[in-house]
């Protein structure tokens, strides 16, 4: 018999322990868009941890999703290591000036102190603030970039991916530093009471091939996933865009939940559904931002039905970040569909 009316936290804990839940977990990746729930622009919480945490708590109170997902941009850790970002009024910051241009520049890169460098402390404060508001009923997670994506932001993506072929030693040196940095931030997130959620958008098959993933991404992500698992938390790995060529590697490197974007869930289920829990993949732009609540419901239901017999289970989610300005009723439709149709039959 399934328990009824679990809180998101109880549901997540049951999921972690392999116990029955009242319904599927539903985690739309509401990241920068969470500011809208507090009536704020992105720039208003970028450097204000308590405000960022409160915006996400407000967002949770509005939608009741099963996990809070703190995140602004994938350059966060690289910034704390020396990369310069460009800031906007109502968009997340992006890389303006990478810190590494020549092999000698690698020596300029510093390991960050999560408690003082860049905007890392903002996230640690936001975790505490969101936990103080709603931490009794929902887990607060913090999404952050894996070493491959960090290294791309340290060197500039095109230069970094060219270095994989032209200067592999340099790429590995950067990746080692990026991994050390990610581990430091990972530990700080856990210590602050958050759940670390690794994301690796630049390691997507939309950018690199499976052999490059095996040499330059997986070995550096693996120790981080191991550390998350050792803390008793679920090792999630989110990869944007295409990932069909590396699902096996993602599972091999220790991810227990694969958060997927532009993929065929049926194909993913057949490939790795017996080894991992699948998470995804309602399309952010064409369905959530531009679609109707009916379309959102239809696509949400499609994911639920496709994965109903996936042995490792399924978490309903958006394929990637819920876009800024997504209509409330569309996010609501996703959660409502899971409440209505996501219960064990």
């Amino acid at each position: 018999m399934s328990p009824a009316n679990m809180t998101p936290k109880e549901r997540f804990l049951a999921f972690l322990q392999g116990q029955p839940t009242d319904r599927l977990l539903c985690v739309p990746l509401i990241l920068n868009h969470a500011n809208r729930a507090a009536g704020l622009k992105v720039s208003e919480t970028l450097n204000d941890g308590p405000a960022l945490g409160k915006a996400h708590a407000d967002c949770y109170r509005k939608f009741g999703q099963d996990m809070i997902t703190l995140f602004t941009d994938t350059s966060l850790i690289a910034e704390a290591m020396g990369t310069k970002l460009k800031y906007f009024d109502d968009d997340p910051p992006r890389v303006e000036e990478p810190v590494v241009h020549t092999p000698d520049d690698v020596d300029q890169v510093r390991l960050p102190d999560p408690h003082s460098d860049g905007r890392l402390p903002v996230f640690l404060e936001a975790i505490k603030s969101a936990n103080a508001e709603v931490g009794g009923e929902v887990f607060v997670s913090c999404c952050y970039a894996m070493p491959f994506t960090i290294a791309a932001a340290l060197m500039g993506t095109d230069q970094f991916v060219k270095a994989l072929r032209k200067a592999p030693e340099l790429a590995h040196r950067l990746l080692r530093m990026a991994m050390e940095a990610a581990l430091l931030f990972n530990d700080a997130i856990i210590e602050a009471g958050g759940v670390p959620v690794p994301v690796d958008p630049v390691a997507s098959c939309s950018v690199i091939g499976p052999k490059q993933y095996a040499e330059f991404a997986a070995p550096y992500t693996q120790p981080i996933l191991a550390k998350i698992a050792a803390a008793g938390l679920p090792p999630v790995l989110h990869i944007c865009g295409h990932s069909h060529l590396i699902w096996d590697q993602m599972a091999d490197e220790g991810a227990k939940v694969l958060s997927l974007d532009r993929v065929d869930l049926q194909q993913a289920k057949e490939a790795v559904g017996s080894r991992v829990c699948l998470m995804g993949n309602v399309p952010p732009a064409e369905v959530l931002l531009y679609g109707t609540p009916e379309l959102v419901a239809e696509r949400t239901l499609e994911g639920i039905r496709l994965t109903a017999d996936s042995p490792g289970g399924y978490i309903v989610a958006s394929g990637c970040e819920v876009p800024l300005g997504t209509p409330d009723e569309n996010i609501g439709a996703m959660l409502q569909t899971v409440r209505e149709y996501g219960s064990p039959s």
């Binding site: 460009k86 968009d91 992006r94 890389v95 993506t157 095109d158 991916v161 060219k162 994989l164 072929r165 032209k166 098959c205 939309s206 950018v207 690199i208 091939g209 490059q212 944007c240 865009g241 060529l245 532009r262 399309p283 952010p284 732009a285 064409e286 931002l289 531009y290 970040e321 876009p323 800024l324 300005g325």
Partner: protein, 229 residues
């Protein structure tokens, strides 16, 4: 370097692009000039077939972004040598493309790959760069007499800018003069249709095919229609 004949040079250029050999591509381009070969012929029969193979390998998931960028370096090294020797009088009319990443977005790797493949296919490409304001697409397309306006974005938040470009062209009464093609991570064929673009390219290889078919299908006939109406 010992050069046997023109065909050896063309074959070598093709291979240098495919095999990502920038120095070899440059040297062969210099050799072609020294041999008095027609630069346009060298581009179309050396570099273009090389880029076509690169595009195929990308389609087949054999090449990914790192390879494409390095192939592009090789192609551009040769182009740089050849371009000053192009003779417009003996060249056939090329399609002209204005390309850019829409305002608000600075992700330009995808756009650069499309540009490179279009140039590799022998088209004249005017690259506006990234974070390009709506009006600039319309201005530049008019200025250079473009056939095609190509726009990309990786971000869902900047997709609306593409619609604004189409609207801007309509407002100016120049929409019929250009074919508009869009692409990028969050873009779909449905979105292209919704904003009144002419076409969508799923990836760089498809973008080139679509541009070529747009150019082949209705070469400048719309312009005459515009003038008449």
């Amino acid at each position: 370097m010992i050069v046997v004949d023109a065909n050896t040079i063309l074959q070598g250029l093709r291979e240098a692009v495919i095999e990502m050999e920038e120095d070899r591509a440059r040297e062969l381009a210099e050799a072609s000039v020294a041999e008095g070969m027609d630069a346009y012929h060298t581009i179309m029969n050396g570099l273009a077939p090389g880029m076509a193979v690169v595009s195929e390998k990308y389609d087949n998931e054999e090449y990914f972004v790192p390879e494409i960028l390095i192939c592009a370096d090789a192609m551009y090294a040769a182009l740089e040598v050849l371009r000053p020797h192009l003779n417009p009088a003996t060249m056939p009319q090329q399609g002209k493309v204005v390309i850019g990443v829409i305002a608000g977005d600075i992700h330009d790797i995808g756009k650069n790959i499309v540009r490179m493949m279009l140039e590799g296919a022998g088209l004249e490409v005017h690259d506006l760069g990234r974070d390009v304001p709506v009006k600039q697409f319309a201005d530049e397309a008019e200025r250079v007499g473009a056939d095609i306006i190509a726009m990309s974005t990786l971000m869902s938040t900047t997709m609306e800018g593409m619609r604004q470009v189409v609207q801007e062209l309509e407002r100016r009464g120049t929409r019929g003069r250009f074919k508009v093609i869009i692409g990028g991570g969050p873009i779909s064929a449905a979105f292209a249709e919704k904003i009144g673009a002419d076409a969508y390219g799923r990836d760089a290889a498809e973008a080139v095919r679509v541009v070529q078919s747009l150019l082949a299908g209705e070469p400048r006939s719309q312009e005459a229609h515009d003038v008449a109406s």
